[in-house]
Every structure is written in structure tokens, then in C-alpha cells.
Symmetry: C2
Subunit: 296 residues, 2 copies
């Protein structure tokens, strides 16, 4: 296997295959990339129930960014059940247009407990930002822990909804509603979209957090609303930069990343100890020896 040093050198010289190899090493837990070394990049989390059109929205929004000459990457987090560990990834067949325009697209399995995001998602974000991508989408599947987790890694969170899916109740229940910065009413060409929009506006009126939240109607069929969506997303980022909140979001991501890494390594260290006959204090001491001795 090629050494990490050589891969890193090639990565720094703009070798996209080295980037991919490094992400794979991070997924396998053999390497971690802690700091992107740049400040100017925007992580856009995109979540929402199945079938609402998340990929299509990313597709259209990314195209708008590309028109502005911006470099775009997409991390798609696929779920894997708590018992299977493996992921049913396969090749990503959608988003083909983006591929041909130089967008980097990568599927990652969510290996964490109950489908949460693993630390490798943070590695990948850092690697992509360090590589020069300035708009990084993180797409989650809209069902479970990964969607709550996305708030810990993204600077701006888009919640995509569509009329007649009945998903708003599910999403409300799961607590995903509260974490979004921008609500996208997709398939707004469908008649019932105005009903969904009405529900959303009513819900946001009840919100007392004082956070600025926007609703944007989009339609992939009519190719409508994506310029507005781009402006709203860009403005959210600009506002965070000028208010200094961006630093807070990045601190949150680092803390999340560190916590995930620590918990994973602690679990591995603990699994390697024979605890028979040891009391808790003895186990703690042995655990720390293993944990600190473990190579990154």
C-alpha cells in the first residue's frame, strides 16, 4: 500500500485519486485529517425524508454554484443498519451531470451506532476543504441519528420537504425540524405545495428561538427557485462569517469529530482488555494505557 506521506504530497499537489485514497483510509480508521488548513469553505447539510428530491435539489443548487466558478463536492451518507455494519452502496447513478462538470461525489456509509455519522465524515470534509472545494454538500437520508448528527458538522442545514409525503410529522417528531436553517419546499409545482408551505410558515411562527429561518419553494420540473435558494444559502454563510458564528459552528464540528474518534478508540481499547477480576479503577487505568498507546 502506498504510504500516507506520499499520498499527502500528491493530495497537496491536487491529485484527486490521492484525495479519494485518503478518504478511504479515514473510513477504515487508519488515518485522520484533523484540520483543513483553510477557512473559506462552506459545509451545506441537506436532509429530508426519502423521495422528497434531496439529490435533485443538490444537483440544481450545485449547478448554480458551478456557474459562479465555485468548486463543489458532495458527500452522500448512506445508512447501514446497526446489525449489518456493511453498507449497500453500489455506485451512485444519480447526479451524472455533476460528475461531468468536475464535482467530486462520494458515498460514505454511516457506520456509527444506530446509523449516526462516523468520524470519517469530518475527515472527509477537512480533506475536501483542504483540497480546494469551497462548497461541500453533506446529504443524509432523513431517517434517524445521522440527520441529527448533520447539525454537528454542517455550517448551513437545508431541510428538503415535498407536498403529500406526510413526512412533516415524522420530521417534527424526530427533532429534525428545529435544526434546519433553510426549509426547501420541493416539488412546488404540485398543487398541495401551498398547503405544506402554509404548515411550515405556521410552525416557524411558533418558533421562539430567534434564529433566522427561511423557506424557499423549488421545482426541478420547472427549474424554478434555485437561484433564490442559492442566494439564501450564500447569505446564511455571509451572515455567519460577519457575525462570527461560523467559528462557533466549526468549534462544534471539531468537538463532534473528537468525541466520535475518542468514543471509537475507547471502545476498541476496552474490547481488548480482559476485565475478569478487575475492579473499575483498575480497568480505567489499563484502559488509559491502551488508549494512549494506540497509534492514530
Amino acid at each position: 500500500m502506498m504510504g500516507v506521506d506520499i499520498l499527502l504530497e500528491r493530495y497537496r499537489n491536487g491529485d484527486i485519486f490521492a484525495l479519494s485514497r485518503l478518504i478511504t483510509l479515514c473510513e477504515d480508521g487508519e488515518y485522520h485529517f484533523e484540520e483543513p488548513g483553510v477557512e473559506n469553505y462552506h459545509v451545506i447539510g441537506v436532509t429530508g425524508g426519502p423521495g422528497v428530491g434531496k439529490s435533485s435539489v443538490i444537483d440544481r443548487l450545485a449547478a448554480k454554484f458551478l456557474d459562479d466558478g465555485v468548486r463543489v463536492a458532495v458527500l452522500a451518507v448512506d445508512p447501514s443498519g446497526p446489525f449489518t455494519q456493511g453498507a449497500f452502496l453500489g455506485d451512485r447513478v444519480r447526479m451524472r451531470d455533476l460528475n461531468t462538470r468536475g464535482v467530486y461525489i462520494r458515498s460514505m456509509a454511516s457506520r456509527g451506532i444506530l446509523g449516526g455519522l462516523g468520524p470519517a465524515v469530518c475527515d472527509a470534509i477537512n480533506l475536501l476543504a483542504g483540497f480546494g472545494f469551497t462548497r461541500i454538500f453533506v446529504e443524509t437520508v432523513g431517517a434517524g441519528q445521522a440527520d441529527i448528527d448533520v447539525m454537528n458538522v454542517a455550517d448551513t442545514i437545508l431541510l428538503v420537504m415535498a407536498p403529500g409525503m406526510g413526512d412533516e410529522i415524522q420530521i417534527l417528531k424526530a427533532g429534525i425540524m428545529e435544526i434546519a436553517d433553510v426549509y426547501v419546499v420541493n416539488k412546488s409545482d404540485v398543487e398541495e405545495a401551498s398547503f405544506l408551505r402554509g404548515q411550515l410558515e405556521a410552525l416557524l411562527m411558533m418558533d421562539e428561538s430567534g434564529r433566522s429561518r427561511q423557506i424557499v419553494n423549488t421545482s426541478c420540473v420547472l427549474d424554478r427557485g434555485f437561484e433564490e435558494l442559492k442566494m439564501v444559502v450564500e447569505k446564511h454563510y455571509a451572515d455567519m462569517v460577519s457575525s462570527g458564528e461560523i467559528a462557533e459552528r466549526r468549534r462544534r464540528r471539531k468537538r463532534y469529530f473528537v468525541t466520535k474518534l475518542v468514543m471509537k478508540e475507547i471502545q476498541e481499547s476496552l474490547d481488548s482488555i480482559n476485565i475478569d477480576g478487575l475492579n473499575f479503577e483498575e480497568i480505567k487505568k489499563m484502559l488509559c494505557r491502551r488508549f494512549l498507546g494506540q497509534s492514530m
Copy 2:
């Protein structure tokens, strides 16, 4: 507040209020009781969907044990949502008959992530066993992580089902089916019970694990099947003792207990560190200092 030493002395002298106070201290994370100091006790996990009659089954089965002159305790794990932390316990109004016959009944909140069992459940089991209770029921609500977790703390696992609840599919999906040692078809006086029993037998026929698994029909209305259930449960315990598997189950509980404790303390230690500007190796070192410095 009364010191732990005084409480422990009273506990050892058979003071049930001291027992309760110690369990509360464990729930609050202020104390841990690592070893019961006895071998002869049987932890019976009882799980199943809402409305299948878990409490009634425990009620009748406990009565059978009481008739044999055995001391019985019940830990009922109530769920609390991942966002609320608190629990909606209230006083336990069921099982009143047991209370008057000297059964110790205690509700515990499942405070862990996504409703899993917390370390305090293991503390409580150890405290109850050390106090002289030889049949300890752990009841979980049959929806989520706590039910998977129960396999890590119980010696024998009862899965209670009832006809016409449609819960078998849910339970299969959640992976709870595989963890049970005894399947209780409750409400067997209802006509559709034979259909459920048929489904269960078919499912167990497909099981290739080689584990011994029993199905028992019960009916609280007819007060039928509980003598058989008691025999099956007692035989499962006796078989584990003679085969030595009981030691394996207790090792599993200790490992589970230690893991829960470690993860909780690591999280607390990590939350107390300012990680700004530190790299992962520096964070690990500081974390271990905090972790080892933390008092139990």
C-alpha cells in the same frame, strides 16, 4: 446527606430504605456497586411491545416464585426520550398485589442515548442480589435500544407477545426476536393466539443457532400457564448453571456495565476540556488525566 458508609452498613443489615437510597445514588451517578458478592441469583429480563401484558405476566410469575418462598424484586425500566433526559415515571400503580407480599418494585429511567439502559440498572441488580433477592425481574418497554440492551444484563430473557397486536413484525425487525430464551404467548385465551403460536413455531424452526428456546402459552384471565412458565424459567437457569453458561452471561453483564460507565465518564471528562487549538493526541492525554482523576 447520609454518608455512603452508613448506608452500606444499614443495607448489609437488611434495611430496605438504605437499599433504595443506594439505588438512587447510583442513578445519580454518585456511587457504583460493582459486585453483588453472591452467586445464587437469577436475573430475568422481560420485554415485549406495549399492551402485551408484560406487567401482568411478571405479576403472576412472581406470585409463583413467592409461593416457593423465594425473594423477588422487579426493576421496571421506563423510557425517556433522547431530548428530554427526565423521565415521566409517576408512581407505579400496577402490581399492587406484589407490593403487599414483600416484592421490591422500582421504576428506573432509561437515560442512555436513544433510551438504552444506563449503568445504574447494573448497579441496582448488584444491590438487589447482594440484599438477598434471588429472582430479579428487569422489565423493558419493548421499543428500542433498551430491549437490545436487556440481553446484556439478564440471565434469561422472556419475550412476551399477544395475539392480534401485529408486534411480531416490529420485533423481528428490531432484532429482539433473536435474543429471547423464552417466548410467552400471552392472552392465549383469545382465539387468534394459536395463529401467533404457529407463526412463532415456524420462525423458531428456521432458527439455526442451536440455542434451546421454548414457547409458553399464558392467560391472565384464566390464570393458566404460569406454573409451566415458572418451570421453564427455572430449568433455563438450572441448565445455565450446570453448563457453566451463567458465568458467561455474568461476564457479559460486567462488560456491559463497565462499558456504560466508561463511556459516561469519558463523555463527561471530554465535555470539561477546552479543545480549541489542541490536536487529537494532546486531547487524548488531557482526557485521560481528567478521566483518571475523576472520583467514582
